[in-house]
Point group: C7
Chain length 94, copies 7
């Protein structure tokens, strides 16, 4: 299925939090930190400002940090996505 976000929206998918710490301890339940990293899976055409499209700053495939409570959770074909405005993406992580 193909999701085409509108305006300056971005569709991201959470990255699985690593379940082992650097020292190799397996984390469970609440000890596992809430991941804020996600992968960009689709981007909109950009916001419309005074008749012109503002080009997007992120690209499909980027790994990003995002504001924890931003956006809307959607489930399409059994997969969970978050659709948020590009402005709720804090940074690209490389």
């Amino acid at each position: 299925m193909n999701i085409k976000p509108l305006g300056d929206r971005v569709v991201i998918q959470k990255l699985e939090a690593e379940t082992t710490t650097k020292s190799g301890i397996l984390l469970t339940g609440t000890a596992k930190e809430q991941p804020q990293e996600a992968k960009v899976v689709a981007i909109g055409p950009g916001a419309m400002v005074e008749g012109k499209r503002v080009p997007m700053d992120v690209e499909v495939g980027n790994k990003v940090l995002y504001s924890k409570y931003a956006g809307t959770d959607v489930k399409v074909d059994g997969e969970e996505y978050i659709i948020l405005k590009q402005d709720d993406i804090l940074a690209i992580v490389e």
Copy 2:
């Protein structure tokens, strides 16, 4: 009956949530997820910005994802519709 939304408003109609899961189990009551998918049935002429119409990004017939609490529920001729601003439409699903 013919509904002509004003400005950048869009009239959508919820799509029936599938009542069987992929594995074929019939869902009932609260186990059935709240659908966020809808079909566009009418669009406005576009917002007026500094004397010019901004063309709409969605078209009649598009299947869209929308913000769950956005818009106003209306009932016309026994059919339920939601009228919302285009900005409350998150993405087009193809």
Copy 3:
């Protein structure tokens, strides 16, 4: 009496909700749905944006759907009207 709304305001009058359902059952009390349909009885000259009047999108006589809690109820010569901004009108119904 003549009401001339200012700016982009519109004077509407609620349409009587049909008190019989399609199947002919007479509805009473709370079973009767809150009507959101109204008829436009007067329109303002349009909002003033940067020194120019923005022409109105609705006309006197239009049947419209409006946001349930928008506007101000006024009573002039015993008749009840609602004065609201055109932006609180969702759609024209034909």
Copy 4:
């Protein structure tokens, strides 16, 4: 005394609510509806937008409908007035 409102402000004075109904019954206390009609007694020079005065839409002597909770009540020389922004005037009644 002379009150000169600033900007797009308007000074209005409530009109006495008619204390008899059309059928001639004298109303008392809470049965008497809260009047929303007033007479314009002074107008400001108009709002200043980008260095230019926007001409006012109401004139001294106009009978107007206004938003019930808008504006500030003032008492000058024993007379009660309401000073509000022109935007809180809903319509001119003729």
Copy 5:
């Protein structure tokens, strides 16, 4: 001491409420109405809009009506003043 307000701010000083009514009765305590009249004692150079000063509408010496809860009370050299934005001044009284 000299107070020079910034931008479109105005320094006013409350006028003593008359303590006798028109009929000559001396008022005390809460029966005395909260005065909303004040005298302008200093004005700022005007707001800065797109690189230009917007000239002020009030002058030092004007008697004005102001929004009761607007502004900040300050005490300089034992004298009480209110510093508010010109927009919180409702009207000039002459």
Copy 6:
């Protein structure tokens, strides 16, 4: 240490409230009024509006009145300062 505020921010330092009244009575505790006077110790380069710096209205050394709850208290090298936006400075006192 050198503090360089950003944009239209200003660093001020509260002036010690005089602890004796005009009549020479020494004040203690809550009887001592909350001072709202401060001295400007550093100013930013000015706000950026449409690509241009707006020059500041206050200068280092000015004695100013400021909004009591505005700004952020910071402690640098044991000294207490308040960093606020110039717009929260009400007036210059000379």
Copy 7:
């Protein structure tokens, strides 16, 4: 790992609060003041205003004072960072 903040965002890292006072007393627990100083570790390309990038006022390596509750805490590779808008940085400390 490389963090590239978007727009006018800045990535900072809190500076360890000195745990000894000037007089050499070791502070513990709540007696230790909440540090508001941080070091800039990455900056965005600048905000986009009407199609142009506004250059940033801070640089990587700057020691800054920031609004205590601003921004989002993120943890990348076990290191804690704060990502905030440049406007939440109060001043550069030298």
